[in-house]
């Protein structure tokens, strides 16, 4: 009568807690090793940094019904072909600058961050840069003096001047171009690139 059934006993749940925690953590470690190897720069899902030398576009995969990145022919950034190491250095400068300027507390990157300014995941491919010919120049000017070159889309929200140098601006653009080539499982939904026909 006074005996506690197994399902209500303290020791049973203690053991369960330990096994469940250890088991889940072990699975997480295995999946982490797999995910990191499948997403290193130069993998199928996360292209090498030298992808900044190429044209990047998205095409709807009709079977999966999601947009997939398509890496096309040469399309040099700032008219220069970068070696893998040069490309890595430039993207690295850009990535570091986005952190030092605290971009993530207004923008989202891969959808993570703050929601005061637009997502940067596919910023390189956005129609907001009007045409591919104007894009690089517009981006450099905007980053270096966002107040004068403000693009507020009627919202009155202006990016502040963050003292970004020309080299840093080029780094950011390289970083954005590289980031836009990552296969994000179709996020953001239904994105129309600057290449897309109206």
């Amino acid at each position: 009568m006074n005996e506690t059934p197994l399902w209500a006993s303290e020791s049973f749940w203690k053991k369960t807690a330990i096994w469940v925690t250890a088991g889940s953590f072990l699975i997480l470690v295995v999946l982490t090793m797999d995910s990191l190897s499948k997403t290193s720069a130069g993998s199928q899902r996360v292209p090498a940094y030298s992808v900044i030398n190429k044209k990047i576009d998205y095409q709807l995969n009709k079977e999966l019904r999601k947009s997939m990145p398509v890496i096309g022919e040469n399309e040099f950034l700032f008219g220069k072909e970068y070696t893998e190491e040069e490309a890595r250095q430039l993207v690295d400068l850009g990535k570091k600058t986005t952190q030092a300027k605290n971009c993530m507390n207004c923008h989202t990157l891969l959808g993570n961050g703050a929601y005061y300014a637009p997502d940067l995941t596919k910023a390189w491919l956005d129609k907001g840069w009007i045409s591919k010919e104007m894009r690089e120049d517009m981006m450099v000017k905007f980053l270096m003096d966002p107040e004068k070159n403000a693009r507020t889309f009627g919202s009155n929200r202006k990016m502040p001047n963050l003292n970004i140098t020309e080299q840093e601006a080029k780094g950011i653009i390289a970083f954005l171009k590289w980031m836009s080539s990552i296969d994000t499982n179709g996020f953001p939904y239904n994105f129309k690139t600057i290449e897309a026909e109206e």
């Binding site: 006993s9 807690a17 890595r88 030092a100 207004c106 919202s155 502040p160």
Partner: protein, 505 residues
């Protein structure tokens, strides 16, 4: 500078010091708190609680500034930009909650272990080091704000990674302080007695400190960087913090309602099993769209959908125990906040999290105000509430275990503070939810997620009015906070009745 000028400066500084000493003494005479009622360990706990409340104030203040900028984008432009306000808003939140948790542990550890805290002196030094570091970090956030794209900026100014922006030097400091805290906990239980609560707490703190180091590295590859960043952010707030709250809740239900140890500990193990069983692999719901493989859509979707289950268990646990003991307890405000925690955690973390956790809906909601809506109710419901409950427990003992049950003088204050804070946060949550719905439909589904689509959604009247309502309810939250502080400083003052003895039934 000539000597008379220097003398003048020294005189001014001395006068200022003297003046603040007088103010401080007047304040102490007014609040009438008597630290001789507290053990040395609990005196350290209330130091942590005090800083927690100051940072809670900073969280709300900078939240209000950021909310105002959504309506008036020119407000404080290039002085305190949105990015700065928002960073301090969320950092102050993380840090005040950590301060609260550390305070809670210092508060109950002597009671739980049956002995005095081992290494308390070191614990006190760690408190001052941490507080000094936090002050310096905030000053740099405010005055320096940003740096050039170099490693030195990440080491000295900020790392630019949401929630864990603190510069690298501060990361190292935080780890050192956490190790001292961990030493206090383990050495105290080793000297006194271990218990189920002690065991879960110790293992949880190992995970808590260990996970933080996963976020201390710079990486060029943003997919890898966000992968590890989520290890810290998710495995803290959706796993180890939840378990820590389970531990604190278990101890407080024993103290407040005299629930039997065997019952709370069995519940605690069930909660740990459910929490870690769903939360560890539930991490996968952050790996849908950052470049990681497709299998995370299945793993993350499935396990994160299970995350509300332990929170339901916690509601049942808290409400059942309160009912079984006919709500007889020695501290009404504390119990009210514990009940608020059970429901807030369930709705904020559980329901609001579940609503957008499956990838089929998350592809529309990820990176919209949906996340902000969930974040507000979850952090407040799960973590702010339990800390506030402990502030009330602490103030009761600080005044010498006075009566804080039915018929407390000026009880309207704690009740109104409870109502305004919960109503304010709930109001913000609903306003942000409406904004999130609107964004998901217009920006994502209709416009195709371009910058043009983003701004079409931002300029939409329903989004704009949602932002006004959010600011309004932010103001309500602020009013609740002011009332809460006033109540904490005055409740039980001049009370001569002692708290009733709560006995096990």
């Amino acid at each position: 500078m000539n000597t008379s000028g220097l003398n003048g400066v020294i005189q001014n500084v001395t006068a200022l010091g003297e003046k603040s000493r007088v103010y401080l003494n007047n304040f102490k005479a007014w609040v009438q708190l008597d630290s001789t009622h507290l053990s040395d360990g609990r005196q350290l706990a209330v130091k942590y609680f005090t800083v927690a409340i100051i940072l809670f104030f900073a969280q709300i203040l900078f939240g209000l500034l950021a909310a105002t900028q959504f309506i008036f984008p020119g407000f404080l432009y290039e002085i305190l930009d949105f990015s700065v306000n928002r960073m301090i808003h969320i950092n102050a939140m993380i840090v005040w909650m950590l301060y609260g948790f550390i305070g809670c542990v210092y508060w109950f550890i002597e009671d739980e272990s049956g002995t005095e805290i081992v290494g308390l002196k070191l614990g006190n030094i760690a408190f001052w080091v941490l507080t000094g570091a936090v002050t310096l970090v905030v000053l740099v956030y405010l005055l320096v704000q940003i740096g050039p794209g170099k490693d030195s900026s990440l080491w000295l100014i900020n790392e630019g990674r949401e929630y864990i922006e603190a510069p690298r030097w501060a990361d190292i400091g935080i780890v050192v302080v956490m190790l001292i805290f961990f030493y206090n906990v383990v050495a105290t239980f080793s000297k006194g007695k271990w218990s189920g609560i002690a065991g879960v707490l110790t293992l949880d703190l190992v995970a808590l400190a260990g996970l933080y180091t996963a976020g201390m590295f710079y990486m060029t590859n943003i997919t890898h960087e966000q992968y590890w960043w989520w290890w810290v952010v998710h495995l803290w707030v959706e796993a180890t913090w939840e378990v820590l709250v389970g531990v604190i809740m278990a101890w407080s239900l024993m103290k407040l309602l005299a629930v039997r140890r065997k019952i709370v500990q069995t519940w605690l193990y069930i909660e740990v099993a459910l929490m870690f069983g769903s939360g560890i692999l539930g991490l996968g719901h952050h790996y849908f769209w950052i470049g990681t493989p497709e299998y995370w859509l299945t793993v993350g979707g499935f396990f994160s959908a299970l995350e509300p289950i332990p929170l339901v268990a916690m509601v049942v646990h808290a409400v059942y125990d309160s009912g079984a003991h006919a709500f007889k307890n020695g501290n009404h405000p504390a119990l009210a906040w514990i009940i608020a925690q059970a429901f807030g955690n369930f709705f904020g973390a559980g329901v609001w999290g579940f609503m957008h956790t499956l990838p089929q809906i998350n592809i529309f909601t990820h990176g919209t105000q949906w996340s902000a809506s969930h974040g507000h109710l979850a952090f407040f419901g799960a973590y702010a509430t339990i800390n506030i409950a402990f502030f009330y427990l602490a103030i009761q003992q600080w005044r010498g275990n006075v009566w804080m049950g039915g018929g407390t003088h000026n009880a309207w204050r704690w009740k109104w503070a409870l109502g305004l804070l919960n109503g304010g946060v709930l109001g913000m949550t609903i306003a942000l939810l409406i904004a999130g719905y609107e964004q998901s439909f217009i920006e994502r589904a209709v416009e195709g997620s371009t910058w043009g689509g983003y701004f079409t959604a931002q300029n939409h009247p329903s989004f704009q009015s949602a932002m006004v309502w959010r600011l309004f309810f932010g103001g309500m939250t602020f009013a609740g906070f002011i009332l809460l502080v006033w109540d904490l400083l005055t409740i039980g003052k001049g009370e001569t009745r002692k708290a009733p003895e709560i006995v096990e039934i």
